[in-house]
């Protein structure tokens, strides 16, 4: 245990992610976070005014690298197919090592029903899928990706694969390789659509 590391604020965010993963968003409460942290609720309120603020911090944490990943991948001198795979790999590699974080993907719909996180979730989904859609379009224009599906349809297929495989991974107790399964399936779709 190192004094001041992680910060109390970061520890609260990590505890909230664990609780969401174990019990869902509905299971998250300041009482539970405080219990998990071994602190009083009043200490929690020194860092966050209310539970909604914790949720906002969780979503900020979840998406903190999004624009960095997109900017990095778009600059790479690789094919559009590989850009899509690289982009998705950056996320799923982290989820595989940190399964609790993947629970946010599985809770998008619930999070959209909270006033404070509604727009944040919409922005995350739009940015992530917008990136994939943009690169698929580029790939189709270059003839690297087939035009059989529209870029939007193909983006929806990719999104469906990520969501479904992640859900199945959770249902299976995280017993298979998430990254390999998702990337292999998407690669097949991009190459054979």
């Amino acid at each position: 245990m190192i004094k001041g590391f992680p910060t109390r604020k970061d520890s609260i965010i990590l505890a909230a992610i664990e609780i969401i993963s174990e019990s869902g968003i509905q299971g998250l409460s300041t009482k539970k976070i405080a219990e998990k942290q071994g602190i009083s609720e009043s200490i929690l309120y020194k860092h966050f005014n209310k539970l909604d603020d914790v949720l906002v911090a969780v979503i900020e944490y979840f998406s903190q690298f999004d624009s960095m990943i997109a900017n990095t991948v778009i600059e790479k001198d690789i094919s559009c197919k590989d850009k899509i795979l690289e982009y998705i790999k950056s996320f799923v590699e982290l989820y595989e090592a940190y399964p609790a974080l993947a629970c946010i993907i599985l809770n998008y719909d619930v999070l959209m029903h909270y006033d404070h996180t509604h727009q944040m979730i919409i922005d995350i989904i739009n940015n992530r899928l917008g990136f994939i859609n943009k690169v698929i379009k580029m790939g189709q224009e270059k003839g690297e990706i087939s035009n059989y599906y529209t870029s939007q349809e193909l983006t929806d297929i990719v999104k469906g694969i990520i969501f479904t495989v992640t859900l199945r991974w959770k249902m299976a107790g995280y017993t298979f390789q998430l990254k390999d399964r998702i990337l292999l399936t998407i690669k097949k779709v991009l190459e054979n659509s």
Binding site: I2, F5, P6, D10, L14, Q64, F65, M68, I69, N71, T72, E75, E86, K89, S90, E93, L94, E96, A97, Y98, L101
Partner: protein, 131 residues
């Protein structure tokens, strides 16, 4: 040479261990909290790491925050700049994305994934850990 490999991806971690264990004794951590804890224990026991290979996108606490904490530990312990642990950042993110001034002073070398053996050996040569 004592080396700490902080990498959450199994394949990358195994690769780095295979390469770096030829040059020293390697320990491995998989998230930012474990990394700072391992570093603190080594520093406290008087047997600090000479080299840290650090990923940025790691579970729990990311590599940027972990490195900041590590430098603070060294600073509290009054480790001279010349004696502080050499750090190679190995990340999927390009350096321009994380290249803010306050952070750039904290690491010595930056490599973007995927890295190969030559990348690692050259980085160690840059740091004068290998001749």
């Amino acid at each position: 040479m004592r080396i700490l490999i902080a990498e959450d991806d199994f394949v990358s971690r195994k690769f780095l261990f295979k390469v770096l264990s030829q040059y020293g004794e390697c320990d491995m951590t998989v998230d930012g909290i474990e990394t700072v804890e391992a570093f603190a224990i080594a520093l406290e026991s008087g047997n600090p790491y000479d080299l840290l290979c650090l990923d940025i996108m790691m579970p729990k606490i990311d590599g940027l925050k972990a490195l900041k904490a590590i430098r603070e530990l060294e600073s509290k312990k009054k480790v001279k700049d010349s004696k502080r642990c050499k750090v190679i950042m190995i990340s999927a993110l390009s350096e321009t994305e994380v290249e803010f001034d306050s952070f750039k002073r904290e690491y010595e070398v930056y490599r973007i994934k995927p890295v190969d053996i030559e990348d690692i050996v050259n980085a160690m040569k840059e740091l004068k850990l290998l001749s």
